[in-house]
Amino acid sequence: MFASRHRLSDTVRLTEQAGAPWRPRRRRARLGLRARVTVTFGLGALALSATMAGLTYFTARQFVLNERQSAILRQAYVNASLARTTLRSASPDITQLLDSLDTVPGSRSVLELKGQWYATSISVGEHAIPLSLRQLVLTGTPATQHFALANTPQLAVGVPIPSVDAAYFEVFSLDELSRTLRILALALAGAALVTTVAGAVIGRWASGRVLRPLAQVSKTAETIAAGSRDVRLVADDDRELSALASSFNRMTDALQERIAHEERFTSDVSHELRSPLTTLATSLEVLESHRDEMTERTGHALDLLAAELRRFQHMVDDLMEISRVDTGSAELLLDEVDVGELARQAATAGGAAGVPVEVDPKVAGARLQVDKRRIERVVANLVANAAQHAGGVTRIGVEPSDGGVRLVVADRGPGVAPAERERVFERFYRGQAAGQRGATNGTGLGLSLVAEHVRLHGGRVWVEGDDSGGTVDGGRGAENRFVVELPVLAAATASPDDSDDPDSAAGCARGAMPPAVPATVRDEVTDGNEDGHDGAPADGDDPSGHQSARRPAKR
């Protein structure tokens, strides 16, 4: 039951990730299907077995009691007639009479003769017999009565013998009988309990069998959600189950086709735009080299054309990049680099050459395995973002952290409102500041690409700033920071391997992979190499554990 609930909550998480509407709270409050089937089976078995046990008990009890009662009555009448015969004689010996009476174990005789009481037992005499029975019998009516004596059930039979002015009573102890019935009740209750448990077990087993294909479906769905879109359910021999499997597979096929179609569309659009863009860009360059031959007006028009073309070009580049991440064809070209050097080079390449780069001494010399081109883009995009919204970047920092190393791109602009700090990384997100912008080179994809690049490296990116929105002191207040956290290499693997054997170098490169790049990535690389088309160097072939790693998109 726990297993199935666990699976259910996993499904909830997955669905939430996919952005589909889901109401997990209502679901969690209810028992799982398997638990409900188990409980139902258990309750059903309990009701059935309790009814059966009850019926059995009462029927048996009635039967046994009746049998016993008629035996008792027979004996009492025999004894009464014996007593009458004896008492009719001239000088009856009462004691001998009582002794001679034929009694079963547990039965005691009491005789009333002309107001005098005689008994075979000391404990059972006149007063042991209920008053109502005594009165009834002494008035001439034979009667029986159940009563309890010293907490044991008794049956008293009274037979009037009017011919000799006497009454014969016999008191039978039903203790043994009730003990037998108690044992029977216990046995029946035990049987009912066993049946209940058996019912629950059968319910659990049966529901488990029924739900096993569902578990399979859920597992397959998870695998697909994790990025392996080619996984399908294996159709079962069972007719109903194979129907489920085939409709599940049909649904997955349809979804995959649709996703692939959309991804291909973005990729195709950006690709098709490249040819005209190439002509445009090249022709524009020719025009620009002849700018001095133009009038001021045509020159200005050319500048506008150039600026917008460059922005358009960036947009197409960014779209291509995003679509590669979406289709899972993005490759990480990992190089082992010094973190300070990386920050300085990225700052220069990102157009922030004059900005101070502060490397914390604790991380100076730390080595990272990164795709330099992507990290350069990350820094460049953050610098461009600061230039556009915050009056430019003020410093770039490299700081230690628990998770690795942090690259900090700081500005002193108005900052990002706390409510928008997650949303700024969305594609084409326009924040509050959007209306204030004049000329811009932004593509609307810069920060989302930052997030994608960092995610590919197994890192994180977030915004820090004054929680009042950073607008204190006329918008020139606290420092706002875009923080990129990247995993750092273990010290042992950071040292160069001087082995001449490329295979041993490959072994080391394996250990030096950042934790976020899963082993499956490596398998994909191997696959890529095997098809002979990808000439990506084998691990040992390449000086810095440089790897071409394709990661499946997680979206």
Partner: protein, 225 residues
């Protein structure tokens, strides 16, 4: 005398605009719309640099490059639509010296062309460099292994000279990119890796277990004598 460029590109407008841009940069430009005609034209014009678009109708850019390589060590720059697919590596494997990505900046392209053409021998190069049974003669531009001449492209030759001129010294990929291709820090390391692999096939007895051109993990490549 200005350098001649053979431009192999099927899109007429791109070709026309590239011709304009390259002519502005002072090159003479020959055009070709397909791989087949390009191979014919190359025989006639003897271009100094060939630019090949990878997506060509009929014979594609890879095959054109391979065919060209059978007869010539001419510098080849391939023009690709993407940077991080198999295209780049496959193009380099086919024998290209360098690549540019569409849409490119004509100035950058002409810088690449200039870098390729500039790679002539520097004055202080020794006459002959040797390692194992390999002889490199920078003055003649030839490589011999066990007495037989090995045909290298100009880029491969430059790379081999760089390594052979610094025996036992580790050269990082950045250094090699800078010295052989004229690239800065963010050049594509795959250029070096693919050329090293091609060199190994040509000069190593067993390319899978190199004895001379060695990988130094985390640092770069070095030549062991």
């Amino acid at each position: 005398m200005s350098s001649r460029i053979l431009l192999v590109e099927d899109d007429e407008r791109i070709r026309a605009s590239m011709r304009l841009a390259l002519e502005d940069e002072g090159y003479e430009v020959d055009e070709s719309g397909s791989g087949e005609t390009a191979l014919e034209r190359f025989g006639e014009t003897a271009a100094d640099v060939v630019l090949i678009d990878l997506m060509l109708p009929g014979m594609d850019g890879f095959e054109t490059c391979r065919q060209l390589r059978r007869s010539s060590a001419v510098p080849v720059i391939m023009v690709t639509a993407r940077t991080d697919t198999h295209d780049v590596v496959a193009g380099l494997e086919a024998g290209a010296d360098d690549y540019v990505t569409k849409p490119f900046v004509a100035k950058e392209l002409s810088a690449r062309i200039r870098a390729l053409l500039r790679r002539t021998r520097s004055v202080d190069d020794p006459d002959m460099l040797t390692f194992g049974d390999v002889e490199v003669r920078p003055d003649e531009g030839t490589v011999r292994r066990a007495g037989h001449e090995v045909h290298c492209t100009r880029t491969e030759f430059r790379l081999l000279c760089e390594l052979a001129a610094n025996p036992g010294k580790v050269l990082s990929r950045e250094q090699l990119l800078d010295r052989v291709w004229g690239y800065d820090y963010f050049g594509d390391g795959r250029l070096v890796d693919v050329h090293i692999r091609r060199l190994r096939i040509k000069v190593e007895p067993d390319a899978a277990n190199p004895r001379h051109i060695l990988t130094v993990r985390g640092m770069g490549y070095k030549l062991a004598v």
